[in-house]
Symmetry: C3
Subunit: 236 residues, 3 copies
C-alpha cells in the first residue's frame, strides 16, 4: 500500500502511515534555514520524521528499536497534547542521519514496530492505560526520559491521571525497581490527564512491576464500568 | 454499586466513580519512593485521590467540602487540559491523612458532593459555562486559588474564553466583590479555552455577581444559537 | 441573523458569531478592576473580544484586516489548546479603542473576514493543514508573530506536526523568503500537534512558497488515505 501511494503521489518524502494517525516522512537535504531553526547538528543533512495524533509511548518505543537497527540518531522528541480528544499525548520525533537511506530505513523500522508497541495500549471511553517494556533501552528512550542505556526499562501510563498514581504505587511495591521519571499533568507532561511512571532495573523486576500495575489499572477501569481493550495485541 | 464493584474486583483502593469520569481512590501506605517523587509530607502515610476527565471546579468544590468534614489535607491540585475534546480542564487532586479511614472518608464525601457541584456547569456544542459558590471557602479552594479561608467565594468560567471576559466584567460591575484570580488560556489556565474569574467578599454580593454573570453567559450562548443545559441541577 | 439575535437577547455586548464557534463581543466601559487584571492601557475604555474554539490563524488574519480598517489596537493575543478534539489552537484576541463604536466596528470587520480566512484551512480525520497570506501585514500579525509591518506575510500550518516540518522545508526551498517564526508543539505553540512556519519577503515569493507547501501537504494527507477539504473556499 505504501509503495502504491508513493507512485501515485510522486512524493519521495512520504514513507508510510500507521496506527494512531502516525505518519513517517523523510527529507534528504534539509533546507539550511530550517536546519538552523530546528537546532540540528550540522553533520546531518537528512532527517526522518515520525509524527502521530495518538500515542507517545508506542512511537518512542518504535523509534528506540529503529535507532538500534540503523545508523541514525534521535535529535528531538516533542510531545503535543493530543490523542484526538483523548487524555494523552501525540508525538513528533525527529531522527537524523548523514545519509538519506539511513533516515528512511529508521522511519520504516519505526512504522513496522507500531503494531506491536500499541499492544498494551488499552482504550475506553473514560481514558486509557498504557504499558511499554524493553529489555534494553536505547537512545530514543534515553533522550525522552533519561533511560539508562542498555538496561531494562518500562513505562506505565494511566488516564485519568488518578489511575496512574495508583498504578505507580502498585508497580513500586511489587518489585524492586528504580524510578526514572514520575510525570503528572503539570509536571513533566504536556498538560495531559495522565500520570506516567518510568522504571528501570532487573528485567524480570521491571516486567513484574508493569504486569502488576496493568492488573490494577484494568480492575479500576472495570470498576468504573469501562471495558478497556488492547489497541492491537498485548506483548508484555 | 460501589460496594458491589469492590467485592467483585477485590480492589480495596477503589472508592467509587461519579459524573465527569471522576474516579476516587485511596492508598493506605504510599510506597516510600513514590511518596518522595510526589513531594508528600512525611507525616502522611495515606492518600486519597480524586481525578476526572471533565471538571476542575466541581471537583475542587467537592474536595473543599470533604476537607471541612474530615481529618485530611489537600496536598496537590493539578489541572490537566482535558474535558474529552471540550474546552476546559480535568483534575487530579490528592488529599492526605495520617489514617487511611480519614483519606477514604474524604474521597467518599467528595464523590457525593459532585452531583451538586456539577449543577451550574452548562454545556453545549460551542463550549461551556460554569459557576460555583460557597459561603465559606476552605483549604482546597485556598490551595487552588488562594481563596481567603472562611469567606464567601465564587468561580465564574466561560468557554470559549471570550464569553468569560464578558461574564467577568458583568460580575464585577454587578456587586462589590474582590477579584482573587483572573485566569486566561495562557495565564493561569492549562491552555484551556476559558477565562476563569474567582471572587470573594460579602456572601450576598458574591452570589449576586455570579447570578448576573450566569445570566449574561447564557444569553451569549443562546445568541450563538446554542442551548446550554445544566449537567445536573442548578444550585446557585 | 445577528441583529435579530441581539434584539431577542437585549444584550448590547453581543456583536455576532461565525465559523469555528467564533464569537464577537464588545464592552463599552471595561470594569476598572478587570481593566487592571487584564493589563490594559488606561487610555482605552472600550474593548472588542474575538474568541473561537477552532482556529487561530483565520482569526488573526481577520483581526489584522480589522485593525487596518478601524481606529483600534490589538492588545492581547492568547492561543488556547483547542479545536474541539482537533490538533490545533483556538483563540482569544482583544482589541481596544477609545470609543466603543470603533471597538464594535473592529469586531464586525473581523467576523466578516472569517469566511475568507477559513478558505485555506483543510480539515480531515487525521489532522489539518492551514495557509494564510497577506500582501501587507498589520498590527495583529505583528503582535502575534512579530511580522514586519506592511510587508507580505504567510502562515503555513501542518497537523500532525510531522507534516508541518515537511511543508516548512518545501516552502523554504521553493522561494527566497525569510522565516519569521518556526513553532513546534512545545516551542512556540500551546502544546498543539502542529508545526507553524511564518514567512515574509517579496509578495510573489511568499505566495509561491505557500502554494508549494500546500501542494505537498495535501499530497501527504492523501497518501495517508485522507481527503482534506477546504472549510469554505480557498483564497490563496
Amino acid at each position: 500500500k505504501e509503495a502504491v501511494v508513493m507512485s501515485v503521489s510522486g512524493l519521495t518524502e512520504f514513507v508510510g502511515t500507521a496506527i494512531g494517525d502516525t505518519v513517517g516522512l523523510v527529507i534528504a537535504n534539509v533546507d539550511r534555514g530550517l536546519h538552523e531553526k530546528m537546532g540540528l547538528d550540522k553533520k546531518y543533512r537528512s532527517i526522518g520524521i515520525i509524527g502521530a495524533r495518538t500515542g507517545a509511548g508506542p512511537q518512542l518505543m518504535a523509534v528506540d528499536e529503529a535507532v538500534k537497527a540503523t545508523n541514525s540518531e534521535v535529535v528531538t522528541v516533542e510531545l503535543p497534547r493530543d490523542t484526538k480528544g483523548g487524555a494523552g499525548h501525540g508525538s513528533l520525533i525527529i531522527v537524523a542521519a548523514e545519509d538519506v537511506s539511513d533516515a528512511r530505513r529508521a522511519v520504516e523500522v519505526a512504522l513496522k514496530e507500531l503494531d506491536r508497541t500499541f499492544g498494551d495500549v488499552y482504550g475506553c471511553d473514560a481514558g486509557h492505560l498504557e504499558f511499554q517494556y524493553t529489555a534494553r533501552a536505547s537512545y530514543c528512550l534515553n533522550k525522552a526520559f533519561g533511560a539508562p542505556l542498555g538496561k531494562a526499562f518500562g513505562i506505565i501510563v494511566g488516564a485519568p491521571a488518578a489511575i496512574g498514581v495508583l498504578m505507580a504505587d502498585t508497580a513500586l511495591k511489587t518489585a524492586s525497581v528504580d524510578v526514572v521519571t514520575y510525570g503528572s499533568p503539570t509536571h513533566g507532561n504536556s498538560y495531559t490527564n495522565e500520570v506516567v511512571l518510568t522504571i528501570t532495573g532487573d528485567s524480570g523486576a521491571v516486567r513484574q512491576a508493569i504486569i502488576s500495575a496493568r492488573e490494577v489499572g484494568l480492575k479500576v477501569m472495570r470498576a468504573m464500568g469501562q471495558n478497556p481493550v488492547s489497541s492491537t495485541k498485548p506483548y508484555i
